[in-house]
Structures are given as structure tokens and as C-alpha cells.
């Protein structure tokens, strides 16, 4: 996997800093961090599914929603224990993601994105129509069992989950399977021509991305204790996930994680000045500027600076 000393050093430094955070910042800020952790999980999930393969998912809330609703319904309506309902939710999300493979067999690019967006709409309609006694219909659900109490515990829980996801996905994508998925994004026909089944690789990307999305969605609902379909199945949520991944630098795992924190803080700092939806214009603008300056995102900007620093030192 080509791990170097500085990989360990950077991860260790980052982990220590993040775990020390409750001593460094206020409870209010910590709550913002919690949201950033979950957004990071969703952005990483998007990166696994779309970042390398180029099969752009606009329907991520579809996956997150399956995970969230499955565990919410199981625990609240059927008294299933959380330790059991979360794994079930993850598996159901992965099964749901196999729907993505149907359009992915035939179409790419914007059409694929549109079909996945339709999946999100579909599930939004379904939770309202089918068995609202289970899903809570338009109003959603509340009083769902929570895993943690208080900001500090919530922060540690979300951070641990985010780090576990980030490190495992980062390691996974450093193996040859990451190379193969990138190759699909560059030239799918040549991947076939190299003897690799692209359908199987895409399915792997979708299942892994869904694993992360389902896990994140399930934990998120047990952090919030409630579920609001209109906020969950919202195009703004889709954009927040995608912009976080792109701003940070897609197909790097680290980038989407960084992007999620960057974006959460940007939105948070803009809140006092722009309480309404105008904030989204500002972040759209900032995302655009970063994108124009470096289409590969913050990750690439930092890497370039690091390379310059290294070559400067050795020269």
C-alpha cells in the first residue's frame, strides 16, 4: 500500500487533535463538529461510489435514507435492539444500492446522475404513501432511541465512526482496487480490454459506498433521535455532500473529509450574516473559485504546497 512514516504521523496528529477538541472548543462549536463528522462520512461515501468511477450519484440521500429509516423503524416500531438494527440497516442499504447498477450498466455521466436523483424522489414519495404508520409520513419520526447524551459524547461517537470510515476507506482505495476504480473513470472500455469485469467493479464501488452511507445514516438517526424526510431528501443536502467532496478533492477520501469540515464551518460562519438560503450562494461561489483555481480541490492545493516545500528543502 506504500505507507510512509509521514502517513502515520499525519493520521496520529490528526486523531490526537480531534480527540482533544472537546477541551479546546465550546459545546456549541462541538455540535457543529458533530455535523461535520457526519457530513464527512457522507462525502467519503460519495467519493467511494462516484469519485473514482465517474458515476456521479445525485441520489445519496436515497442510500442514507434507507439506512436511517430501516433502523428507526426497527427500533421504534418493533423494539429491535440498536446493535441488531444498525447492521440490518447497513445490509438493507447495500441491497438498495444494487438498484444503481441497473442504470450504470447502460448509461454514464449526467443521465446516471439524473436516474439516481429520481431514486431519491421515489423514496421520498414512498415514505409518505406506503405505511405512514411506520414511517411517520410527511412529518417523519421523533423519539427514536439515541446512542449518546450530550454534545461531548455525541462528538466522540461521531468522530470515532468518521475516523474508522475514513481510515478504512483510505486504506482500501490505496490498494489495486482503488487503481481499478480510477481506471473506470478514465476509460471504462480499456478496463474491459484489460480483462477486468467493470460491472463487478462498479457493483463493488456501489456496495462499499452504500455500506458507508447506510452506516452513517443509521448512526445519524440515532444521534438526532428524529428523522425529517423533507430535510433528508432535499436537493440542498445532495449538493452539500457533492460540494464537500469536490471542494476537498474527489477520489482521495481525505479530500472529502477535509471538504466536509471546510464547508460546515463556512456555512456556520456565514449564518449570523446570512441566516437564510443566501448562504448557499456564497458557498457555491467559494466552491467555484476553488474549483477554477484547482479543479482537484483543497487536497491537491495542499499536496502542491507540500511538494514545493520538499523540493525547496532538498534544492
Amino acid at each position: 500500500m506504500g505507507l510512509r512514516w509521514y502517513h502515520f504521523a499525519l493520521w496520529a496528529g490528526f486523531i490526537i487533535l480531534m480527540y482533544a477538541m472537546p477541551d479546546l472548543v465550546s459545546k456549541g462549536t462541538l455540535r457543529t463538529f458533530i455535523f461535520a463528522n457526519f457530513l464527512a462520512i457522507f462525502a467519503i461515501s460519495w467519493d467511494v461510489l462516484s469519485g473514482r468511477t465517474g458515476y456521479i450519484s445525485f441520489g445519496h440521500p436515497f442510500l442514507i435514507g434507507i439506512g436511517a429509516y430501516t433502523t428507526a423503524i426497527l427500533t421504534k416500531r418493533f423494539d429491535v435492539a440498536i446493535e441488531i438494527s444498525i447492521p440490518i440497516a447497513v445490509v438493507v442499504t447495500m441491497i438498495g444500492s444494487t438498484l444503481f447498477i441497473l442504470p450504470a450498466l447502460r448509461i454514464r455521466g449526467s443521465y446516471f446522475a439524473l436516474v439516481t436523483l429520481a431514486f431519491m424522489e421515489l423514496i421520498y414519495q414512498l415514505v409518505q404513501v406506503i405505511r405512514p404508520d411506520l414511517t411517520g409520513g410527511t412529518r417523519g419520526m421523533s423519539g427514536i432511541e439515541t446512542l449518546t447524551r450530550g454534545a461531548v459524547n455525541g462528538y466522540y461517537m461521531s468522530l470515532s465512526l468518521m475516523l474508522a470510515v475514513a481510515i478504512s476507506m483510505w486504506l482500501l482505495m490505496r490498494t489495486r482496487v482503488g487503481t481499478a476504480l480510477s481506471a473506470i473513470g478514465m476509460n471504462e472500455d480499456s478496463v474491459q480490454g484489460s480483462g477486468l469485469s467493470t460491472t463487478r467493479l462498479k457493483l463493488f464501488a456501489f456496495l462499499t459506498g452504500a455500506f458507508v452511507a447506510g452506516l452513517g445514516g443509521a448512526f445519524y438517526v440515532h444521534y438526532l433521535g428524529s428523522i425529517a424526510p423533507r430535510a433528508l431528501f432535499d436537493i440542498n443536502f445532495v449538493f452539500t455532500i457533492i460540494v464537500a467532496a469536490l471542494i476537498g478533492g474527489s477520489s482521495t477520501i481525505i479530500g472529502p473529509m477535509v471538504g466536509a469540515f471546510f464547508l460546515t464551518y463556512l456555512l456556520e460562519y456565514l449564518r449570523p450574516f446570512l441566516p437564510g438560503a443566501e448562504r448557499y450562494f456564497i458557498y457555491g461561489g467559494i466552491a467555484l473559485i476553488i474549483y477554477i483555481y484547482q479543479p482537484k480541490g483543497i487536497y491537491a492545493v495542499v499536496m502542491q504546497a507540500w511538494e514545493r516545500l520538499r523540493s525547496g528543502k532538498s534544492a
Binding site: R176, T179, N187, S190, V191, Q192, G193, G195, L196
Partner: protein, 253 residues
């Protein structure tokens, strides 16, 4: 199944094409073509532009599906198989228009070709760096080229990369589509020597080339096609002096 398959392998030809037809709308790009290539033989496939050479390659690889006719690899009808499944059975091709992975280095491009079609193995086993470098050097790359990206490579280099990626899939039958186009004399000699080396090692070839001078020493026999039909087959000298071939292909009567 093991012993039977081996027995079959010995008796049947590496590649056998029977009454192959491919139509694009009203155009018959492959018109009832039949031929076979024997074990360890190298066959040149020649014909003017648009004769249907590349189409035959695409049909053999399963990138296009024939309207009728059969394609057999070591006796097995591979007509219904996917491209990766055919590659697994030992046939592989280069592309006339090189199709590298644009944001990967030369070694990474070769790495994709070397990968087993098993996600589990991709994850648990690291890349075979020695083999990657060995393949890159064998097609004529220098050490300095290994980390170059396709946009920094010449047409000659891109063709070498095509060769290397194709060889990486470990074929026993190789289909080469215009591997000499855009290459310098030195590069042609180098790729030619590589093909000769593989012939000595028992590789079976079907080679398309407009560069007849480069092609001639590399083949045991030739097949000429025009408008999708086979017009001559046999010794290169006989094929090339065939009146039909001369009029169609060389533009002389």
C-alpha cells in the same frame, strides 16, 4: 473437465473463425469470413482502409457481436462470452487508436492490465512491481519513462504502452492492430524484435498492419480482405501478388 480441455486444446486451433458476418445497418463490414490460425503461427491480416480488419478484432474480443457465424478459441465457442471472459481464455488485443488511462503513469497503466479479475485479490495482493517494470522495458520504454503520463508520451510510446498492457493480460493469442503506425524506424525494429521473441516462445499472432515491409518478416502467412470479404489467403508472397489483392489493396492492376 481438466484433461478433456487439455486434449481439446492440443487438437483444436487457437483461433478458428467460421462464416462470420457483421452488419452495420446496410453495410456488411464482415462478410462470411472463415479462417483459422494454427498453434504458434503468426498470420498477417491485410486490406485497404475500411476493409473490415478492426471489426474482425472487435468481434473476436466480444466488443462487437456478430450477426452470425462462430468464433472458437482452442475449440471453445466464445461467441457468447464477455470481453473479460475471453481475455481470461487467452486472447488479447491492442487498439489501433491507443486507449491509455489518461491520468496514470506508464507503470500504473500496465498495472491495470496485470490485475487479476478478482476484487479480493486486488485488495489483498499488492502490485507486482518487478513484472510491471519488466513489461515496460521489454516494449522499449526506458527507466525515465516509467512514471510518465500518456499526455507526455509520443504516438510511438503510446503504441508501446498498448503492447505492454495487452501482454500484461498474459495472452496465448495476440491480436495486434497497426502497432507500427506512427513509430520511428528504430521503434519498429524494437517492436519487431519483441514480436519475433514472442513467436520463438510460442505465441500465436494475428497482425494487422499497413506497413507491409515491417509486417512481412513477422508472419508465416497472410489473409487479405476487401469490403469485408476474404479475397486471398496463403503465403505472403502469393497473397501480395494475387491480382485481386493488387487491384484492391495496392491500387495497381
Amino acid at each position: 473437465m481438466g484433461t478433456i480441455a487439455i486434449g481439446e486444446k492440443r487438437m483444436s486451433h487457437p483461433l478458428e473463425i467460421t462464416n462470420l458476418v457483421k452488419r452495420f445497418g446496410g453495410l456488411t463490414a464482415t462478410d462470411d469470413i472463415s479462417f483459422h490460425v494454427e498453434q504458434g503461427q503468426s498470420v498477417g491480416l491485410i486490406g485497404p482502409n475500411g476493409a473490415g480488419k478492426t471489426t474482425i478484432f472487435s468481434l473476436i474480443m466480444g466488443e462487437l457481436r456478430q450477426n452470425s457465424g462462430t468464433i472458437r478459441l482452442y475449440g471453445e465457442d466464445i461467441g457468447g462470452l464477455s470481453t473479460p471472459a475471453r481475455i481470461k481464455r487467452g486472447v488479447s488485443r491492442t487498439y489501433q487508436v491507443p486507449r491509455p488511462f489518461g491520468e496514470m503513469s506508464v507503470v500504473e497503466n500496465i498495472r491495470v492490465g496485470l490485475m487479476p479479475d478478482s476484487i479480493w485479490k486486488m485488495i489483498t495482493q499488492g502490485p507486482d512491481r518487478e513484472r510491471e517494470i519488466e513489461l515496460a522495458l521489454s516494449v522499449g520504454f526506458s527507466e525515465n519513462d516509467l512514471n510518465r503520463r500518456p499526455d507526455e508520451l509520443s504516438m510511438g510510446d503510446l503504441r508501446k504502452l498498448e503492447m505492454a498492457r495487452t501482454m500484461a493480460t498474459d495472452p496465448s493469442v495476440m491480436l495486434l492492430d497497426e502497432v507500427f503506425a506512427g513509430l520511428t524506424k528504430g521503434e519498429i525494429a524494437q517492436i519487431g524484435e519483441l514480436i519475433q521473441q514472442m513467436r520463438r516462445d510460442g505465441m500465436t499472432f494475428l497482425i494487422v498492419s499497413h506497413d507491409l515491409k515491417a509486417l512481412e518478416p513477422l508472419i508465416d502467412s497472410a489473409i487479405a480482405i476487401n469490403y469485408g470479404s476474404k479475397i486471398a489467403e496463403g503465403d505472403y508472397a502469393d497473397v501480395i501478388s494475387d491480382p485481386d489483392v493488387r487491384s484492391s489493396y495496392l491500387g495497381v492492376a
